[in-house]
Symmetry: C2
Subunit: 241 residues, 2 copies
DNA sequence: TATTTGATCTTTACGATGTAAAGATGAGGG
DNA sequence: CCCTCATCTTTACATCGTAAAGATCAAATA
């Protein structure tokens, strides 16, 4: 949109202690979020994260820049620095938000499941559903290279996600999975579940399953394909004669 | 490495028709690739692709910029434009190269396989091995968002990759897979194979399997985990008592 | 209460990138 | 022999991330 950020506009001529800048900022802010905006903003950190989420949904991963987020929040382009350090910091915190949303969606997924099969399919379906509903967020969480997992918030949220997965797999296998040691079979089961759902999601979001979906019986949805993928055996001919 | 591209260096003072630029370029070129470099270069397109591959392996995905590639090839930063249009073009052609390497690796993988099990594991292992040996390339092929699949070279190479996979799955299921129609079971089998290996590879490259690998019996390699993942059944308790 | 302090936000500046447009170059066809 | 046009270089510009210095104000301090 070539807004060009008004460089060297007020700094011309006499070096007056600039008075009219605060009202301008206030007007800008009022137009975007709420009404209360007492100069120091009070809650810029949260506002920036929400702005980032909005930018991400509107303009995708490529449009999610530090400056765009600052613009969306109505603050100067350097304001995020103080709260997140750099772009990696912002992306990491945003990814943490995503993981928490994700974990919540997973946790509440198996609530209405009755049969064991439904329960087994609930989580994977919720996984793919979240990614389809929030492809940008999923991209931040799993596609970006600029994530700093040493940040506690991100580390914890991602860890919780893994723990939930491992736990679900353990439940399905009807055995306790101890925290610090795994048998090869247990590890393989977890890796398989995660790889399968994550790979499926990635390929689906990238449109790489279109080729398959187009050749399937008329009107087969990705969800149906996912179900079939999760339920049939790994090798050999299909169950029928 | 702030090289800063020597802007406004020769363009100062008198506007002489610049003579000394060709020798300089030749010297630069000689230092990097071969010796023959007759101004119009002759084969810039290929040279740029090879330069891109070098940059990718040296500096990773983040370092792979149009200007860096031009620098590596010893030409001006705008030279790639004429051959690839824009960054998307270069990335797409490079991804096509990657897919061809990848397909070749897959094709020659099952040569030394004897038993059916070995044959079934050969391709997935080759898949992961290629990604581990060329993580940058794999990133270009599967992580980047800026790919233009309408480019014939990329479309063909990616298509061939998919066809090889579908074919292998069909062979394993001991049935012919017709080109234009698939049963749900067939589609599920293909999607499962691809999702599993692709997901595993992604998680492995992103270091997200460290958590699992660390809890496994001392010295378990990713390869071993992959094998176990591919061979054991999907649900239920492990084979043993 | 008056002053200082420190966190927060803005300005300014710089190098790097992608891309467009105009200028130089030289190989090959007329 | 000249001229055309694909190829490559220069120049220019908007945008981005980041650093550094200045402005502002709430709250602690004297």
């Amino acid at each position: 949109m070539g807004k060009s950020e008004i460089r060297t506009a007020t700094a011309r001529g006499a070096r007056t202690p600039k008075k009219a800048s605060a009202p301008a900022r206030l007007a800008r802010r009022t137009a975007s979020v709420k009404a209360e905006a007492p100069y120091h903003h009070g809650a810029l950190r949260e506002a920036l994260l929400q702005a980032a989420e909005r930018v991400l949904e509107r303009d995708g991963l490529a449009g999610l820049t530090l400056r765009a987020v600052a613009r969306e929040a109505g603050v100067s382009h350097a304001a995020p620095t103080h709260h997140f350090g750099d772009l990696t910091g912002l992306l990491s915190e945003l990814a943490a938000v995503g993981f928490r949303q994700f974990n919540a969606a997973m946790a509440s997924s198996s609530d209405s499941a009755t049969t064991p099969i439904e329960r087994a399919l609930a989580r994977p379906k919720a996984y793919v559903a979240y990614a389809q509903a929030h492809p940008g967020m999923y991209g931040i969480m799993f596609r970006t290279e600029r994530l700093d997992y040493s940040r506690p918030s991100l580390h914890e949220a991602a860890e919780a996600s893994f723990a939930g997965l491992a736990n679900a797999v353990g439940m399905m296998r009807q055995e306790q999975i101890s925290g610090d040691a795994l048998t090869l079979h247990q590890g393989a089961a977890i890796a398989r579940a995660w790889s399968m759902v994550h790979g499926f999601t990635m390929l689906l979001l990238d449109g790489r399953l279109e080729d398959i979906l187009g050749r399937l019986p008329e009107g087969t949805t990705p969800e149906r394909l996912l179900e079939a993928m999760l339920m049939s055996p790994v090798t050999g001919k299909p169950p029928g004669p």
